[in-house]
């Protein structure tokens, strides 16, 4: 990261230093929740929320945190926001909460949030940290949405639960299982890296 201007942060988090396809973070959830768009959307929105607020909180109290317990405190803050999300989902969106099951809780261990709190929020002001959290989340979101789009379309023949494929369409069972996310993520990495390399060579 060269300079921390909002637009540079945006570009960094969404493209050049994307948490999923450059840093390869948050892979567990990439594999687990991307077999349908609705769950993926809820999950990524929850992640954006948690990442942004964790960053703000860490940034505000960073001067008070003793170095030794820095990581523990960050984890505590992340866990706090994740449980808040879980409680809200259970109270107001019981259906979504049911289908996401344990994955909401797993946001706690999502390295993107921890990574941003440690790498960015520890060193920057609350507003920039907030923006950094949101853009990191967006970087995560668009990659997952693309993978979920392909997986749901081929695996279920639906998009957001609405049937879009003809009746005669045979579901690709593999697409709803975790291995297909490996294949898709690999292919995705390949495509994106090729684009990046091409751009780099042209420069």
């Amino acid at each position: 990261m060269n300079e921390a201007t909002p637009s540079a942060i945006f570009k960094d988090n969404v493209w050049t230093n994307n948490p999923v396809f450059v840093q390869i973070l948050g892979i567990c959830s990439t594999l687990a929740v991307t077999n349908n768009l609705t769950n993926t959307f809820t999950m990524t929105v929850a992640l954006i929320f948690v990442a942004a607020l964790t960053n703000v909180t860490v940034s505000i109290i960073k001067s008070l945190i003793p170095r030794k317990v820095r990581m523990i405190v960050q984890t505590l803050i992340i866990a706090f926001y994740v449980i808040i999300v879980d409680i809200l989902l259970r109270a107001y969106l019981p259906e979504v909460s049911k289908s996401l099951g344990p994955y909401v809780g797993l946001i706690i261990t999502n390295c993107i949030i921890m990574g941003r709190a440690e790498a960015f929020a520890q060193a920057n002001g609350p507003l920039l940290s907030f923006w950094d959290g949101i853009t990191s989340g967006l970087g995560y979101m668009w990659v997952l949405m693309i993978i979920a789009f392909i997986r749901e379309l081929l695996g279920f023949g639906t998009l957001f639960g609405f049937p879009v494929m003809p009746e005669s369409f045979t579901r690709w069972t593999i697409m709803v299982m975790a291995p297909s996310a490996f294949f898709l993520l690999g292919t995705f990495l390949w495509v994106v890296k090729s684009i990046m390399l091409k751009k780099g060579a042209a420069r």
């Binding site: 808040i84 409680i87 109270a91 299982m177």
Partner: protein, 200 residues
């Protein structure tokens, strides 16, 4: 005060943990009733679905339910009602699936000769595979299904739907043989239970 000293560290950790946990407790307390309510409604809607009385308007679930029943069943509990002049046994079942516990509602007639309906409340099966036990086509196969002396068979079929309700057999889910097998065991256990307990 030395910020890396042990006393500051302990006090800081204590205060911050207290602060966050306090807020969590508040949030939990504020929504606990709503969460409880959601759970009850989900059981109520399953019971109504199993006897085919699910209202089209989801807001009316509790209303329709309280007209029909006095109490909401707890896991393992059996309740009775009448549908079209015939008495029906309804049980909140739970049994083990492939990955975790499957809970749901099963309704049978009082002679335990036919299944009236079945609905799933919760499960942890693989989404898109075993998780399809929660899809309408699968659950619908149980409606009106005749119970043979051996119970019900969840067979490896076309994986679409078995329309015949006289053959005591429903189609399993393609690619989820173990979950299908679990469902068979669960349903047959329930039938056994209802036969001994229900026909008193």
């Amino acid at each position: 005060m030395n910020k890396n000293g042990i006393i500051y560290t302990i006090i800081f950790t204590f205060i911050i943990a207290f602060f966050f946990v306090f807020f969590l407790a508040l949030a939990n307390d504020a929504t606990v009733e709503l969460v409880e309510q959601n759970k009850i409604v989900s059981v109520q809607s399953s019971v109504l679905k199993s006897i085919g009385k699910m209202p089209a308007d989801e807001m009316k679930i509790s209303e329709v339910y309280t007209e029909e029943f006095d109490s909401v069943p707890q896991p393992g509990e059996m309740i009775e009602t009448e549908v079209a002049g015939q008495s029906v046994l309804i049980r909140y079942f739970s049994g083990s699936g492939l990955w975790g516990t499957i809970t749901g509602i099963i309704a049978v007639d009082d002679k335990v000769e036919r299944i009236i309906g079945l609905d799933i409340i919760s499960h942890n099966e693989t989404p898109g595979l075993g998780g399809r036990i929660d899809e309408e086509w699968f659950k619908k196969q149980f409606s009106g299904e005749k119970i043979s002396t051996e119970g019900i068979t969840v067979a490896k079929g076309a994986g679409s739907s078995d329309e015949d309700s006289e053959n005591s057999r429903v189609d399993g889910i393609t690619g989820a043989s173990l979950t299908s097998k679990s469902m068979e065991t669960i349903v047959n256990n329930e039938i056994e239970y209802l036969k001994t307990e229900g026909r008193k």
